[in-house]
Amino acid sequence: MNKIISVENLSEDVVKLEIEAPRIAQKRKAGHFVIVKLGLKGERIPLTISSADTEKGTITLIIQKVGVTSHKIALLKAGDEVTDVVGPLGQATHIEKVGTVLCAGGGVGTAPLLPIVEAMHKAGNRVITVLAARNKDLIILEKEMRLHSDEVIVMTDDGSYGRQGLVTHGMEEIIKREKVDKAITIGPAIMMKFSSMLTKKYNIPTEASLNAIMVDGTGMCGACRVSVGGSTKFVCVDGPEFDAHEVNFDELLQRLGGFKEEEYKAYQSYLDGLKKVTA
């Protein structure tokens, strides 16, 4: 059982939770994730750690409501408990001074990007961050990003905030403007696919943090397998970060839809249930 210390709504669908997990807070590094399970009948889902406070012994998770479990998590309040939290899992991000690092965060993918931006900046890199989302409401952590970036560009699909356009527009502008030594992209698979295609065109080494479906998260089930450079890798133990130019994003996109029907049905019946309760 892990107690929730605070809850903050970042937007209608995005919530930030601070959870008691002293050991994980102690051990986590940029790039690590946890597996969370809510209730005895809950499912296990991976969530990247956005930040941690070793003194308070807490970790921060940022979750977007997309299905039953994330919706349930979003309804939690300070003082509630998360049944199971295990981690930190996965390989930590390789942090080194390379020069200029271009970091691209799409939607809620901005959350796992934050500790990487922070660590890259601390390592002495010039960090330029591009935050992108469908609309203003979905742009998160802008203030924190500005704290650890030399420059932040905000892009929205509808132009409701920052500049209108896709993440790749913002990225390409920087790449054309100055020499970029490394790029990191985290967000929806489709966004990572296109940002990776862009950096490949300019020959910039790029890492992507993949958000595969997992069950155990410790290398046992193989649900999170992806093709990287033509061979099968497991996101939970080999990743979550991989050379973006080697990742088969089309396969990842397909695999992310592996339970779409089941998930949709479950979410609809969950929402119907919620409506009944509130009616």
């Binding site: 050991r23 994980i24 051990k27 399970k37 209730g39 009948k41 809950g42 499912e43 296990r44 039953v68 479990t69 049944t83 199971d84 939290v85 295990v86 981690g87 930190p88 899992l89 069950v215 155990d216 410790t218 290398g219 046992m220 089930c221 193989g222 649900a223 397998r225 992806v226 093709s227 061979s231 099968t232 497991f234 133990v237 396969e251 397909q254 695999r255 839809g257 592996g258 339970f259 089941e262 998930e263 479950a266």
Partner: protein
């Protein structure tokens, strides 16, 4: 070894045993017919998750116990990886003192109700039974009797909790709560150690919980055995990945003096054939974990599982049988085993194969998948299979399957479960740079005491063997417990 022999002799010379031996002539004992395990009707059971084997009645058990000759040289014990005093417990069954029979099992076995169900007795104790070796007759049903005794005790409401020596305060950390870890825990707690079991998942039991299905081993039975260990003083810590949540060095600083790695089989193997990453193709670990541990087939649980009309399970081991029989129970019209050799070479237990056949599982032997095809959404819908024939024996001694050119054909399959083995879990070796591991990633240990190249770290089960059985893991656990005890006694003497 002399000590063990003396102990067995002494036990055998007890008055009650002698009387019992005299009560029935050997000839009359050997003329009795072996009991048949009552089973649920195959058509009914294939629709539910109830246990297939129903267990012996008291009368059946006592009759079967009479067959045991209480041999002066009980060879059966040498076939048991955890050295249960088999004749002693069986004679207690004959005497109808089932509580004492249960105590006898627990002298050396922390999980009798589990072993009585999933041990391959036919290649262990029962293969070394006097009936098998000398009389060339069907052996005493040792496994069925073990299960009977354990179930009797559980249902009696009076579980015997083995005596525990006064605490010596020495902390031992066990990594993984599967069969090997539980065996170590059971032995070390009896010796007075402060035992903590660290489990990565949200509940203890390891493969007994996530792997073996309800119809073979109900989770409730595993929980009862774990509860007994808790009552003896073993501490279980879930959601803790040693090597990640804390390293072995961290735990040393927290006072742990010895470690046992029983972290099990990790990464599932795939065949690396085209289309294998389509949706609807998964490892048996994933399929079984979703159904067994996460209860995915129940609507009120959040974890989803894919259902299939035509389910193909690739492989011929026990895990493959568990997967295919699970698929049948979840409503598959056609549940198939696709195996590249024949029934004869199949590594699954004969009993599992028989049960699968009774339940209408199709066996496509001498077949091997070569490619998968998917619909427009990326969900597998067909597969191409190649026929095989048996050639010369390979390193395993089994005849090698050889593909027959031009024999490929296609088959409908909307769910494929790949059950072709596992590679060891990489988490522990990854976090310990000084550890000696084999080129397969298994931890190298000393054969007797199960000690690794790091003196305070012992290991057993699949992390050492790469893929074996519950009882071999438990045997490793018992040896490791003895090794840890010896190591800590020496260390703390100094």
């Amino acid at each position: 070894m002399e000590n063990t022999r003396d102990y067995l002799k002494l036990e055998r010379s007890q008055e009650w045993r002698e009387e019992l031996r005299k009560s029935l002539k050997s000839k009359d004992r050997t003329s009795l017919i072996r009991v048949q395990m009552p089973e649920e009707n195959p058509i009914e059971r294939a629709k539910s998750h109830i246990e297939v084997n129903r267990g012996l009645t008291v009368q059946m058990a006592v009759e079967e116990a009479k067959r045991c000759l209480d041999c002066p040289d009980p060879t059966c014990i040498t076939g048991c990886p955890v050295s249960i005093n088999i004749p002693k417990f069986i004679k207690y069954v004959e005497k109808q003192d089932f509580a004492m029979a249960a105590r006898t099992l627990k002298e050396t076995n922390a999980l009798p109700a589990v072993c009585g169900r999933v041990c391959p007795q036919e290649v262990q104790c029962e293969a070394s039974c006097f009936y098998t070796l000398k009389l060339k007759k069907i052996p005493v049903a040792i496994g069925h009797l073990e299960r009977f005794v354990a179930d009797w005790e559980r249902n009696s409401g009076k579980m015997y909790i083995p005596d525990v020596e006064p605490s010596n305060g020495i902390k031992v950390a066990i990594i993984g709560s599967g069969p090997s870890g539980l065996a170590v825990a059971g032995d070390l707690i009896k010796l007075g150690y402060a035992v903590s079991v660290f489990e990565a998942l949200h509940e203890p039991g390891g493969v007994l919980k996530y792997g073996i299905p309800e119809f073979r081993l109900p989770n409730e039975i595993v929980d009862v055995e774990i509860d007994n260990l808790k009552k003896m003083g073993v501490e279980f810590i879930n959601n803790f990945v040693v090597g990640k949540t804390a390293t072995i060095d961290d735990l040393k600083e927290e006072g742990f003096q010895a470690f046992f790695a029983g972290s099990g089989a990790g990464l599932p193997n795939f065949m690396n054939i085209p289309g294998e990453n389509y949706n609807g193709i998964m490892s048996s670990n994933e399929y079984l974990t979703r159904v067994n541990l996460m209860n995915a087939a129940h609507d009120d649980y959040d974890t989803p599982v894919l259902m299939g009309k035509n389910v193909a399970v690739i492989g011929g081991g026990n895990t493959a049988m568990d997967s295919v029989r699970t698929a049948k129970r979840l409503g598959a019209k056609r549940a198939m085993i696709i195996y590249r050799r024949t029934l004869e070479e199949m590594p699954a237990r004969k009993e599992e194969i028989k049960h699968a056949q009774e339940e209408g599982i199709e066996f496509l032997n001498l077949n091997s998948p070569v490619e998968y095809f998917a619909d427009k959404n990326g969900r597998v819908n067909r597969m191409r299979v190649q026929k095989m024939e048996l050639g010369e024996p390979d390193a395993s001694g089994r005849r090698r399957p050889v593909p027959i050119e031009g024999s490929e054909y296609e088959l409908d399959a909307d769910l494929v479960v790949v059950s072709v083995g596992v590679s060891p879990n990489p988490l522990i070796p990854q976090s310990l740079p000084g550890l000696n591991v084999s080129r397969w990633g298994t931890i190298i240990v000393d054969e007797n005491e199960r000690q690794s190249s790091i003196p305070e770290l012992f290991a057993g089960g699949d992390i050492v063997r790469g893929g074996a059985t519950v009882i071999l893991a438990m045997g490793d656990g018992r040896n490791a417990a003895a090794g840890i005890h010896k190591y800590l006694q020496n260390k703390n003497k100094k």
